[in-house]
């Protein structure tokens, strides 16, 4: 396991009988207390798409306020612990290698996790299409996978990265913090004329906002796939 930010960590699970997964899917983790009490939550897979068989799969977990499962997974779990998982789950918010159209990924906060799976899968595909990742992040302290994404943006053919800092920018950066708006989207995202597949993941208000911006900018709503977490208000 690795800390990914001040409030998130990556867990690597050694799954002996993994059925294989697509980029963007998730799994359920079920925890059982000594008295039989159980709690189950879904976590997005961060690892690249994998075939069936014994597999190391990564999940990204952000600590939530009052989160009984996330607090266990971020603060308590140790190497060697046994967890019960079900998956992969979800067959819609996915990217399948072999499709030729460009892909625009847009993530808010820990919504980056399933998008990282797409980026890592893209790296393994020869002659992969153009892939752009646009992230909205509060501050460098809570940015997940920052080092890996910067490295990939510098070296992975066809992949580019844009980050909008909403509260605090990294030291040395001249841009001011601000919300992702129509102007930022127009300069940072692939244009509608390229008809990219758009995968948008993040907290519900963020995804609602971005999906509206994309539709208003002229993207076909049938090409926009979303994954939301949390409440509308």
């Amino acid at each position: 396991m690795r800390a990914e930010s001040a409030s998130a960590r990556t867990l690597v699970l050694d799954v002996p009988d993994w059925p294989g997964h697509l980029a963007g899917q998730h799994l359920d983790v079920r925890l059982t207390a000594p008295d039989g009490y159980q709690a189950v939550r879904s976590y997005s897979l961060a690892s690249a798409a994998a075939p069936a068989g014994r597999t190391l799969v990564e999940i990204g977990v952000e600590l939530l306020e009052e989160g009984e499962v996330s607090s266990f997974l971020v603060e308590e779990v140790r190497p060697g612990d046994v967890l019960e998982v079900t998956g992969p789950l979800g067959g819609w918010f996915v990217w399948r290698p072999g499709t030729l159209e460009p892909v625009q990924l847009i993530g808010g906060g820990s919504g980056v996790v399933p998008l990282l799976s797409v980026v890592r899968t893209h790296a393994q595909v020869p002659a992969a299409p153009q892939l752009r990742l646009l992230l909205s992040v509060r501050s460098p302290a809570v940015a997940m996978y920052r080092a890996e994404l910067l490295e990939r943006a510098a070296t992975q053919p066809g992949f580019s990265l844009e980050v909008v800092w909403t509260r605090e920018v990294p030291p040395g950066e001249v841009a001011r913090p601000g919300r992702l708006d129509a102007r930022r989207l127009a300069t940072a995202a692939l244009p509608p004329a390229q008809r990219p597949l758009c995968l948008v993941c993040g907290p519900t208000p963020f995804v609602e906002h971005v999906a509206e911006l994309l539709v208003a900018a002229g993207h076909d709503s049938g090409r926009i796939r979303t994954e939301r977490f949390g409440s509308a208000r």
Partner: protein, 214 residues
């Protein structure tokens, strides 16, 4: 299944009996009989949708039921208002594990729509503005257990939660309660909907924990 280190081989089988997770005690909330297995209570109203939220004007809203013989019945927003209207409280159970208790809705029981419809079909495919689909047995739409709802918590239903009108079938997992409902197609054969085609259960009873068709 083990975290990080390859295990000693003991877990190289699918775990059949849940084993205690070392170090986990949980934060139990007030237990309630109304919580189906594997669910937790939330007081928020989470939103799950597969794409952008469609904006549907009530002037342009139409709702259609098409039978297995191809005959169609249509309602517009005014026609909807002429049906008997219910206000009711119900619990919601989402397949992503949250349940929300005592939600207050207003809308129109499907029975009133089906009064006009001649059918012996067993299956329904529900289609939304935006293209979402879900399937369920016709029987689950009847008997005062399913509504076209237009109000939530005393207010017009917001687009993000399926407004202006969504199906509500609270005895099944919430993905069956199609937001932005547009039509119901009746058939003798079951046709799977959007989530049902990608691994979710064809029926989706929360009390039997019918989440996935794995």
């Amino acid at each position: 299944m083990s975290a990080v280190e390859p295990g000693d081989g003991a877990e190289n089988e699918v775990l059949r009996v849940p084993e205690v997770t070392r170090g986990f005690t949980g934060r139990r909330r007030r237990r309630t009989e109304a919580l189906p297995p594997g669910q937790y209570r939330t007081d928020d109203f989470p939103v799950l949708s597969a794409g952008p939220t469609p904006r549907v004007d009530t002037d342009e809203w139409r709702f259609t039921i098409t039978t297995e013989t191809g005959s169609s019945h249509h309602w517009d927003w005014n026609g909807l208002q002429r049906l008997p209207r219910d206000s009711f409280d119900t619990d919601l159970h989402c397949v992503t594990r949250w349940s929300k208790f005592g939600t207050r809705w207003s809308g129109y029981p499907l029975d009133a729509f089906f009064d006009r419809v001649q059918t012996s079909a067993g299956h329904a495919l529900v289609t939304s503005y935006g293209g979402y689909t879900t399937n369920l047995p016709v029987a689950d739409l009847l008997g005062g257990r399913a509504w076209i709802v237009t109000g939530y918590d005393g207010q017009p239903l917001e687009p993000v939660h399926g407004g202006p009108a969504r199906l509500l079938v609270p005895h099944l997992y919430l993905w069956k309660s199609a937001k932005w409902v547009r039509s119901i197609t009746l058939s003798d054969e079951q046709e799977l909907g959007f989530w049902e085609r990608v691994g979710y259960h064809a029926y989706g009873d929360p009390w039997s924990e019918q989440r996935y068709s794995l």
